[in-house]
């Protein structure tokens, strides 16, 4: 992917497909590294499937021979001398605490590091696409933190769906404001 934010979109959509009710997107940045962690409480995968998802010719969909989201994220992380890992607990083995966590570490100083891109627009697109799912987004930068928890929004909004135009606009403005504040530090 040209930008990591596009990887976020691709990977987080897998969580919705796995019937997650909460998807956690965390970006931890230091001066030298960027760690992307996408976790969910979806149905999880057995060991065999976890082994296979990095293989570009493997997919859970029937319409296409290959699924490229995970292989491309793995490639972009490893291209920077970083690392990639998937851990999963399948629902049938772990009935109370199941789900999947994908972790990619990027070396920011490596010449093949792709820029993060427009994370706000990725998060907003995810919420718009699956307004029934909750998203917890946290971006820890050396100067400060940007965060959004749709569960908190729901408490205030009551029955109003997250994909209502005004809500989406508010989320976009709120995230952009938070980024402006942090970046001004």
């Amino acid at each position: 992917m040209k930008e990591i934010s596009l990887n976020i979109l691709d990977i987080a959509k897998n969580s919705t497909k796995a019937k997650a009710t909460l998807t956690t997107i965390t970006i931890n940045e230091t001066e030298d590294t960027l760690t992307l962690i996408i976790g969910d409480n979806g149905c999880g995968m057995d060991e065999e499937t976890v082994k296979n998802v990095s293989n570009p010719f493997y997919t859970t969909r029937t319409t296409r021979k290959v699924g490229m989201g995970i292989p491309l994220l793995k490639l972009s992380a490893e291209q920077t001398g970083g690392s990639f890992e998937i851990k999963s607990k399948p629902q049938d083995e772990f009935p109370t605490e199941h789900g999947t966590v994908v972790t990619a570490v990027f070396n920011k100083k490596h010449i093949d590091f792709t820029p993060l891109g427009d994370v706000t627009s990725s998060i907003v697109t995810l919420i718009q696409g699956d307004p029934q799912v909750d998203f917890l987004f946290t971006h820890n930068k050396p100067q400060g933190t940007v965060s959004l928890d749709t569960r908190e929004l729901r408490e205030v909004l009551g029955e109003v769906p997250l994909d209502t135009f005004e809500v989406i606009m508010w989320i976009t403005d709120n995230l952009n404001e938070q980024y402006n504040e942090v970046n001004a530090q």
């Binding site: 992917m1 040209k2 596009l6 293989n55 570009p56 010719f57 296409r64 021979k65 290959v66 490229m68 292989p71 491309l72 490639l75």
Partner: protein, 110 residues
Amino acid sequence: MKVTVNTLLSMDGFSPVAIADGEAQIEGVYIGDLLSWVMGRANAGDAWITIMSNINILAVATLSDVACIILAEGVQLEEEVKTAAQQKGINVISSDMSAYHIAAALSKAL
């Protein structure tokens, strides 16, 4: 003139890595190394020139239905990737030339 993968192999500077269908027709050329970008832009029947060599290139070639992958600048495939190319029926050719010179040669032929 009809240019096939075999035509390309008969030209100077190109050698086979994995050939499944030598009669596959080359109708155009695409050059690119960022796989997600290539995936949405290479056309069916293109000869795709790249310096990437991991297994993901085979998936991209399948998805975009290119006629062949041309590895530029002497890039080699690991044995595992070569075997996978044979299994998936993907044409892979290598050349010591740069992407520019490969494209220029194809431009004359096409």
